[in-house]
């Protein structure tokens, strides 16, 4: 079986990621803002007895890179082992897209064209002559509509056909003058170039040859070649376009008049993001409560009953109900919230609204020595810090990259939101406002960090700002849902493996050395008690709280599962009582509560206003951790605890990716800085709030 490596190349926002998603059913994150495909996404699968290895290459406009992501893309296209390049084009904007295709064809590698968004071209009144295009470029091509899957099978067939026939694209011919200059330079060097691309690069890099070429052509060689490419792309586009009556982007223009307005635009942006969080909470809170109740009241009891009946030792029974159900199961209760938040984030990405935010925010960001491009990774940070830091590859300067990388961990991700939601619902009448305030603190600390860095280690002005505003598109619910599902699966997977393992370690630490009567005597307690004096000035004098911070360094969600184990281990010992419970009424009760939750979720979303944020914290029937936490913290110490979790650096995965992107020294300096900043902020808040509200 032959293996074919395929590179999907094209301008940003032409649908490469959606094509890959459609081909493989792999739900990648797709969006409409420039540079979303920063990571190299790839997939391998079997098709018609061939193993296709398809790689999604970051969006580029030409083969001259101005950022790390573009450099990676160009390097891969030029030097990578690619059997077939698929040049993905936006059919509705052929001239500009063909410019990159022309450059790709200079590489003289087997190439297939995918004229994507064919439906949009048709709706704009464009009729493209595919046969003519194939003849001119002497390469295979087909129309595709990535969203619906139209033409995808044909594209795969053409890839295989291209590979089998080693179909090299036509050797492009520029004007006689330019060709003559290239030939002369190649003859003088004595080394025949592998491709036209190599010949051009060799000429550009030789000062003497470039000067001679400039004398012959009257302009610099780079400009002359660029002009040739553009002329060729324009003439091809013109000759294959039967009708060029392009309809205006009236809807996008009308929307932009409002959404790009200096005041209205920012007001709408703030309102939309606030609404996103409001709806997320109001809709998900009843389900969160239900799952919590189901786990603690039914599943833990059922498992205990079953295991005791089977004669399983108490220690194993406790392990299952505390470490497994009480730990991992607890994190699962927040799946509805994560899903709804990701739904909104993905929808904004795919609709084309996020690049507008980048533009709108640039004015403000620029005053801080930043620029709007940084908003993209910063916003991604609200989803997850790890891909956000990876998205800094798109920064054009190293200073900008370090700067934004050191801001991202202060953007609160859903993992932290899980902890915030838990504490906010317990201690505050208006949990949504508390959570919004924490998000605000994170953003302010990030901006202060940026200002400090700009004044000290990372002096310099922001890089140039260049961005395309793609047309607004109504994202397909199917695609958005698939992406959301992928995130939810990843969340569950993380809970099911990493958090599970951490929970096991913590549970074991809490139950060692052998023979201890309570968690108070455990190794974890000793560690927690040792570090407690450090946290006492910020209101955390309970060793159980400080102990839960240890696994919290590994992943934020683990703080809760660890607390579940730590607090329950030291306060609960009612296995036998649970074993005597009758499961049938418990199950019926859960069914009734589920129905109530469904009704409640829709009612609270339908009602507008801030009052709807005040979700009831008294979860009937739900006991255990919430009640115990309520007794162990005050509102001040709970907020102080949340500040600590917000500001000190994120999970171990974030640290790992940070080291990879900006180096060990900078990362460890940042770790120290974030801990000190977190402690100081928590200290100020805790003591001031105690003075004001003793």
């Amino acid at each position: 079986m032959s293996r074919i490596t395929v590179g999907l190349a094209g301008n940003p926002n032409v649908g490469k990621t959606t094509i890959l998603n459609n081909i493989a059913g792999k739900n990648l994150k797709v969006g409409n803002w420039a540079g979303v495909t920063v990571e190299k996404a790839e997939v391998e699968f079997t098709y018609n007895n061939y193993t296709l290895h398809i790689i999604d290459i970051p969006g580029i406009y030409n083969l001259t890179a101005t950022s790390d992501a573009e450099k990676a893309a160009v390097q891969f296209l030029v030097d990578g082992e690619i059997d077939v390049i698929v040049s993905v084009l936006d059919s509705s904007n052929l001239a500009r897209n063909l410019l990159l295709t022309v450059e790709l064809m200079e590489l003289e590698k087997p190439t297939v064209l995918a004229l994507n968004m064919a439906d949009e071209a048709r709706s704009k009144g464009l009729e493209l002559d595919l046969g003519k295009l194939k003849t001119i470029l002497q390469t295979d091509a087909c129309f595709t509509v990535a969203n619906s899957g139209e033409g995808i099978d044909e594209l795969l067939d053409k890839i295989i056909n291209c590979f089998e026939n080693s179909h090299d694209p036509a050797k492009l011919k520029y004007s006689e003058n330019v060709e003559s200059v290239l030939t002369t330079a190649a003859q003088k060097s004595g080394q025949p170039a592998q491709s036209k691309y190599d010949a051009i690069r060799a000429l550009e890099s030789s000062e003497q040859e470039a000067s001679e070429a400039e004398r012959t052509l009257g302009v610099g060689i780079t400009k002359a070649i660029n002009d040739e490419r553009w002329k060729l792309a324009s003439s091809i586009a013109k000759s294959v376009t039967a009708s060029s009556k392009v309809k205006e982007k009236s809807v996008s223009n009308k929307l932009d008049r409002v959404l790009l307005h200096p005041f209205m635009g920012i007001a709408i942006y703030i309102a939309l993001f606030y609404l996103m969080f409001k709806i997320s909470f109001d809709f998900s809170a009843p389900y969160m409560d239900w799952i919590d109740g189901f786990m603690n009241n039914f599943l833990a009891t059922a498992s205990s009953k079953l295991l005791i009946t089977l004669g399983v030792p108490d220690v194993v029974t406790r392990f299952v109900s505390e470490a497994v159900i009480g730990g991992v199961g607890f994190v699962l209760t927040f799946v509805p919230l994560v899903a709804i938040l990701y739904f909104f984030i993905t929808f904004f990405e795919m609709s084309g609204y996020l690049p507008r935010i980048v533009f709108m925010m640039d004015r403000f960001m620029h005053r801080l020595g930043l620029h709007g491009n940084m908003m993209t990774p910063l916003l991604l940070g609200f989803g997850c810090n790890v891909p956000a830091i990876m998205a800094t590859k798109n920064m054009s300067s190293k200073k900008d990259k370090i700067l934004v990388t050191m801001m991202i961990p202060f953007m609160s991700c859903p993992a932290r939101l899980v902890v915030f939601a838990f504490f906010a619902f317990i201690f505050f009448d208006n949990p949504a406002l508390v959570i919004v305030s924490l998000y605000g603190i994170g953003v302010i600390v990030a901006l202060i960090t940026a200002l400090l860095l700009r004044k000290s280690f990372l002096k310099g002005k922001a890089a140039n700002f260049l961005l395309e505003l793609p047309p607004y598109r109504l994202p397909s619910l199917k695609t958005v849902s698939r992406i959301v599902w992928a995130h939810v699966k990843r969340f569950i997977y993380k809970a099911g493996t990493f958090i599970f393992l951490v929970s096991i370690v913590v549970w074991v630490l809490l139950n060692l050395p052998p023979g201890i009567k309570s968690a108070d005597e455990s190794i974890a307690a000793r560690i927690g008690k040792t570090i407690t004096p450090v946290f006492e000035p910020i209101g955390l004098s309970d060793w159980r709280a400080t102990t839960s911070l240890i696994p919290g360094f590994l992943a934020r969600e683990v703080v809760l599962s660890s607390m579940g184990i730590i607090y329950k281990t030291s306060t609960e010992d009612s296995l036998r009582e649970k074993a005597d419970e009758n499961l049938a009424p418990l199950l019926k009760e859960q069914a009734v509560e589920l129905w109530e939750s469904i009704k409640s979720s829709f009612v609270s979303v339908a009602s507008l206003g801030f009052s709807t944020f005040e979700v009831e914290t008294s979860d009937e029937g739900s006991e255990g951790l919430r009640e115990t936490i309520q007794k162990s913290f005050t509102a001040s110490s709970a907020y102080s605890f949340m500040i600590l979790l917000l500001i000190y650096n994120s999970c171990v995965a974030t640290v790992a990716i940070m080291i990879r992107e900006i180096g060990r020294k900078a990362s460890f300096l940042f770790l120290g800085y974030s801990f000190v900043a977190a402690w100081l902020l928590a200290f100020v808040f805790y003591n001031v709030s105690n003075l004001l509200w003793p």
Binding site: T66, R96, L100, G220, L260, H366, G372, F465, L469
Partner: protein
Amino acid sequence: MTLSELKQDAEAELLGSFSNNNPHINKVEAMGLRSGAKIVIRKIHGRNIVVQVKDLGVDLVIDKELAGMLEVS
């Protein structure tokens, strides 16, 4: 005059760039802002300009520093 000097809603034709072999200008050109392109200034917001390339129907955001390197009629 340069693109950065144009007012909102002004229409112009790009004549070329003052910069030779600047990668950012190369990218600007690859995005569609190149000599001969008919443009409209859709919005000016702080240091940035939203330029619509009429022939291509694309909207680009470019900062005034880069716009200052582009000559317009």
